[in-house]
Symmetry: C2
Subunit: 337 residues, 2 copies
């Protein structure tokens, strides 16, 4: 679906299907592998896996891995496997996150913790993580193990930072940047790095595209913060304002808090520290964030990361794949879920 948008630049709204098109057949194979990998002789694991396969995520990370891989030549079987495994890792983090955040809906379906319970979510996440590394080892993808081991380690540090900084409204933008880099950008970067490594081997392309993914990932998480404030719950398949209600640090809030007069900012901080925000209180904080330029500033920062990501593609041949990777950047800025 291509739809004109009213942004500052005249451009078309990119849909996720537009990104998937050049690697659609490969993505179908990823979906088959996912279904195959999910099978296990433990009934409970099978039941949960079937539940999770019913929800079709955007498969954003596998799509990026495959696009990058195809930029360097025909998509290899190793790339298909790696794309599947990156999605397993991503799914593992979602299962743990939903349990931690007590989220009940994800991708329009009830979460594992809501259908089963937190205990089952913890083990299911561990199962998916360990399955990812097990499959890499079984398939001899030891270089991919290296990239993903580094990435998952930084992700867990990011998650811990997020817990540490929750309800800490003195967090500055530097700490925020580190947090979202570890929590979100590192896995998107790893997906691109793996795609590049499997196409070109070690070297310049791997570094450039890893960096492309990192910048894209930063923009992705900042847009996530913005969507939490102004997204449409029906489109997103989950409720909005949940980051604010959970006392999580988001860029729009950081900027609004530092831009507002001290008295106003202090009142908002006190309000959020109290916890248990009802819909009205959440709405008030949303207005505050908008009023003091938080959304605008965050969008500006996201655009900055996006521009840097696009720049990093300059050295590659200008073809459909590169154009689609550029579209992926625009998609991240325009996405509504």
């Amino acid at each position: 679906m291509i739809e004109k948008t009213g942004g500052t630049r005249a451009r078309y709204r990119v849909a996720v299907a537009d990104l998937q098109r050049p690697v659609q057949e490969d993505l179908n194979r990823v979906q088959e592998e996912l279904a195959r990998f999910f099978v296990c002789d433990v009934e409970l694991i099978n039941t949960i896996s079937k539940h999770m396969l019913r929800s079709h995520g955007k498969r954003f990370r596998p799509t990026l891995l495959l696009l990058v891989n195809k930029l360097g030549g025909p998509v290899s079987h190793k790339a298909i496997l790696s794309a599947t495994i990156v999605e397993l890792v991503h799914t593992a983090t979602l299962v743990h996150d939903d349990s931690i955040d007590r989220s009940f809906m994800r991708r329009g379906l009830p979460t594992v913790n809501s259908v089963w319970n937190d205990q089952t979510s913890v083990i299911m996440g561990d199962y998916l993580y360990s399955k990812a590394f097990f499959l890499l080892v079984e398939n001899g993808l030891m270089e991919v193990v290296q990239i993903l081991a580094r990435a998952t380690h930084r992700m867990s540090i990011g998650e811990m930072l997020e817990i540490e900084k929750t309800l800490d409204f003195g967090v500055g933008e530097d700490a925020y940047n580190r947090l979202i880099q570890d929590k979100t950008a590192v896995l998107i970067s790893a997906a691109c790095e793996i795609g590049a490594y499997l196409a070109w081997g070690e070297g310049r392309e791997q570094r450039l595209l890893s960096d492309f993914g990192l910048n894209l990932g930063m923009a992705f998480q900042i847009m996530d913060d913005i969507l939490d404030i102004e997204g449409d719950a029906d489109v997103m398949g989950k409720s909005t304002g949940s980051d604010l209600r959970d006392g999580k640090i988001t860029l729009p809030l950081i900027h609004a808090l530092r831009s507002a007069p001290d008295g106003v900012a202090d009142r908002i901080r006190r309000r959020m520290r109290g916890g248990d925000l009802d819909a009205r209180a959440a709405a008030e904080i949303v207005s505050f964030t908008a009023e003091y330029g938080g959304l605008e500033y965050a969008r500006h920062r996201a655009r900055g990361y996006a521009d840097r990501a696009i720049e990093l593609l300059d050295d590659f041949e200008d073809n459909t794949l590169r154009a689609t990777l550029r579209d992926a950047v625009e998609y991240v800025l325009d996405r509504r879920r």
Copy 2:
């Protein structure tokens, strides 16, 4: 501490210090590496790590890895690192398990979930798991990655099986064996396999000692089941009867349920299915387990695995290390925590 026991065979009670003696210096280095590995620039991670380092576990898995490694020659730096990393993996499972089981004490100290909360436990466990694989990769221990990736995957399957079988009192001994093999024996086996691999490389010794660890691990878990029923809470640093109260399947219970007259067994099953057992109900189930030979049978099975483990050492040179590995088997049968 060597102390005479009144078992069926005249022998001495082996203390954990007796097992550690031949590799004491190496274990000290493991302890230093652990303290070093735990340091992180995220304050929350450091605080939790310091809390966890205060409790000195038995370091049973690192001890086995080092004993096996030394059986094949001088202990290598790779073996020290691997022993440390196996302990990290073990600690990760404890952190997740305690959160899942809502345990409040472990090794005589309050658990992470009781000092902090379940959310923090989930991420701390993820941090420790991913740190383990990160360190293996950083140190180029790719063969150890293979062994540990397979082991952790099976461990997560075992944990899931345990959740599935909780309150299912129709579980037979075969299902129980698979469950404890995945949940417990596989990591003990991996520790021995890694020690052997690093000493001899791939081959016969690796297989024999991996099998030694597997049998030892089976005996270890069966004794854990027995200790849950007849252990001394003060010595163990955690409460007894908790498996029974949680409706977990243990070998003494499986045997008692199949040995008791139908009416008696049914009454116990109904009682346990109801959940929320108070101290009196738990005591009644403990008596039932003893009365119908459950403890005796479980001890007999543990002895069987122990004998097989000892047999597997026959092919190795008869020296202090081999004698200590035999002692490790006796320790598992005699241990009180």
